[in-house]
Symmetry: C2
């Protein structure tokens, strides 16, 4: 089969302050040099979990919160724990949720709250390092790693820690920190730590270790485990994450980070998260079983659909996942990750740039330490966007396949518009 | 007059991860070595603005917010401005509030939201520096400066910036950043920048530039101005701060900091802050005039009371402030700062430690770059705590004055218990 080579330079500068969350400007009309599609921009570059919104809309008043003018005025909560700004009701809801789902050990563990799990990632780096070392502690993660880790680790040029890339190829001596994302973002694989040396410390990012994404095979029990309200329940705008931490001194230092960074975490968001997590754990309300069932069905349905579209040509492929027994649902379950780690089997060198010309905004493989033939696309968005994405992906496949079959050159292809 | 010298070592280690927000443990009974008072601990070491709570309780349902299960699920807001996570309603309420109060220019300025103004301080440091410089940019502030600045600036050991202490004595060459807190925390004085060189950049912390604390003498119009919901309205637990920024590139980089630090700011808190700030600006509701009037009366009354207590002996003194015309209230007004910058005129070397033995927890002068004969005590707490503080301060004055008059030695003094 003839293949088509498309070489393009990256459109972003090496150091960019542009936000990956901003919607790109609509290209000008007939600007076929920059886009091959007249339809709307499809933003799949970040995991905005709005796909769960219909469920929460259906819940009605059960998780509604009302906040009076004089509520939550103090910095302080009455938790009495290491994390002085944690709402007691949130702590209890978190512990109860993990007991209900069975995805993490929380007994005799410290619970900390953060402004999203991102703030807790920074807190963990601070807690696991100390000033005065000969050089910054190396921070590694196995490729493909979460694309934000390198920039989040390095952007303040800290002397405490620095990004050192792929854990598979890491061979420097001295202390290190390894980030283990399980299941992995972007590719949904379940992996353990890679370096496995005595002088290493681990941070487990378990943002996606929930029944809607992956079978719950065991209670996770690691030194530092990070979770987020965003990916567990779908409430990204609340910016609530939590950490489950074994060691008290680490918990104290992580708390200190958040104190110095933002003097605590929104109490309104904590209150609301407590209400929603509490409802999901409360079997009498049936919200929990319903939510995870809804989430799992939604993800399964989307994965079935995208695999069906992809299967129609050999242009793209997706990872395959093993079915495993899920202790939460009590049945064998296939993973349905929050992201599709799309690969092109063609000579297209940079899939992100290629798709961008069709106004599909994914996140390119090189940002994950992987090759640019991969793109991560979110499976969590709203239904309309997801269906439009499948439609456009299908059109691209048809066009490319026909073009190759008919010997159409790339400049001719540019004149073919996809909606 | 005979004076008493009390030398004590600081009780905290040089590097401490202990939180200044945690309530200290109650001393053991009869532990006269560590305390000279049997009453409860009085926590005045941080500016928890619960003194405004009675006002907000009186407002009733006018500023109540209700949040449905499916609200604020997305990371994204529809603001369309540089700060992609800012709620449009909050931006409008902030601009309107500054127009109503007349304390800052916001036309043609960028509004950014942060998790408290603390996160925006970090964002500003990041925005005003660049990687690759020969050494970190020096960050200075005139003594007495806000006690958290040094640790907040240095704790991540950034190569971008480092704390360089007192602006008055700063004489290093090269670029620098000066923090101007106006009116000043801890001492309530109104000051401009100190270094005044061409290679300097300024961050104005205007947390206390509100009519309840100080006369509004002009619309502030600086490059970067930081404000906070905590000190303006009294809602510290919401962790909402905002920045008013002139330069677009600085605003973009500050936004980028918050994206990398916490991927945005609680939308629940933003929604609630918008409701409350909006109500204060809405003249038809009369909340605004009432709130600032209430706040000003509260602060004025407390300052009258504390000055009256202090005046009974020569042991302590407080700064004096000039009356100025307040453009908001339309009358000559004396400042009533959020903190009392208490000085002992005695030979007591460390006033923080001295007061701690009477279970009054203030923040010692050396943390503000000043001398340890000063302590900053909050004037913003609840009424009961404030009155208990005055009562105990009065007892201390009586005891010390009588002791000196009677030639009682310090170990005898230790046996005298104050309630």
């Amino acid at each position: 089969m003839a293949t088509m080579t498309v070489k393009m330079s990256r459109e972003e500068p090496a150091v960019s302050y542009a936000s990956r969350y901003s919607l790109p400007a609509e290209p000008k009309e007939n600007d076929t040099k920059s886009n091959l599609c007249s339809g709307p921009v499809i933003l799949l570059s970040h995991g905005d979990p709005t796909g769960f919104k219909p469920f929460w809309r259906s819940v009605g008043d059960k998780c509604k919160v009302t906040i009076d003018s004089c509520d939550f005025m103090s910095y302080l909560t009455d938790t009495g724990t290491v994390c002085w700004f944690l709402e007691k009701e949130l702590e209890e809801a978190i512990r109860q949720l993990h007991r209900t789902v069975g995805n993490a050990v929380t007994d005799d563990r410290h619970i900390l709250v953060g402004t999203g799990s991102t703030q807790l990632y920074h807190a963990a780096l601070y807690a696991l390092t100390s000033p005065g070392g000969p050089e910054p502690v190396n921070v590694v993660s196995a490729v493909p790693y979460y694309s934000s880790y390198p920039e989040e680790t390095n952007f303040l040029c800290s002397a405490l820690y620095k990004w050192a890339g792929d854990a598979y190829t890491f061979d420097k001596e001295g202390p290190y920190i390894e980030l283990v994302t399980m299941p992995n973002n972007p590719d949904g694989q379940v992996r353990g730590p890679t370096v496995n040396r005595n002088d290493g410390k681990l941070i487990h990012d378990l943002a996606y270790y929930w029944p809607q994404y992956t079978p719950i095979t065991a209670q996770a029990d690691y030194d530092i485990m990070l979770f987020t309200f965003s990916k567990s329940m779908g409430h990204a705008g609340s910016r609530i994450g939590w950490a489950v931490v074994k060691d008290k001194d680490v918990a104290i230092k992580m708390t200190k980070y958040i104190e110095l960074n933002s003097i605590g975490v929104s109490r309104e968001s904590q209150h609301r998260a407590a209400k929603i997590l509490g409802a999901v754990s409360d079997s009498s309300q049936c919200i929990g079983a319903n939510f995870f069932e809804y989430g799992k069905s939604l993800m399964a349905e989307r994965w079935t659909k995208i695999r069906e579209v992809i299967s129609r040509s050999r242009l793209f492929s997706l990872p395959k996942y093993m079915e495993e027994y899920c202790q939460f649902s009590g049945e064998d379950t296939e993973p349905h990750p929050a992201f599709a780690w799309l690969k092109c089997n063609n000579d297209i060198e940079d899939l992100e740039i290629f798709l961008r010309r069709y106004k599909i905004m994914g996140r390119g493989g090189s940002l994950f330490g992987s090759d640019p033939k991969h793109v991560r696309v979110s499976m969590l968005g709203d239904e309309e966007t997801f269906n439009l994405f499948l439609e456009r992906l299908s059109s691209i496949q048809d066009t490319i396949t026909n073009s190759n079959g008919n010997g159409i050159k790339f400049d001719e292809l540019e004149r073919k518009q996809i909606r």
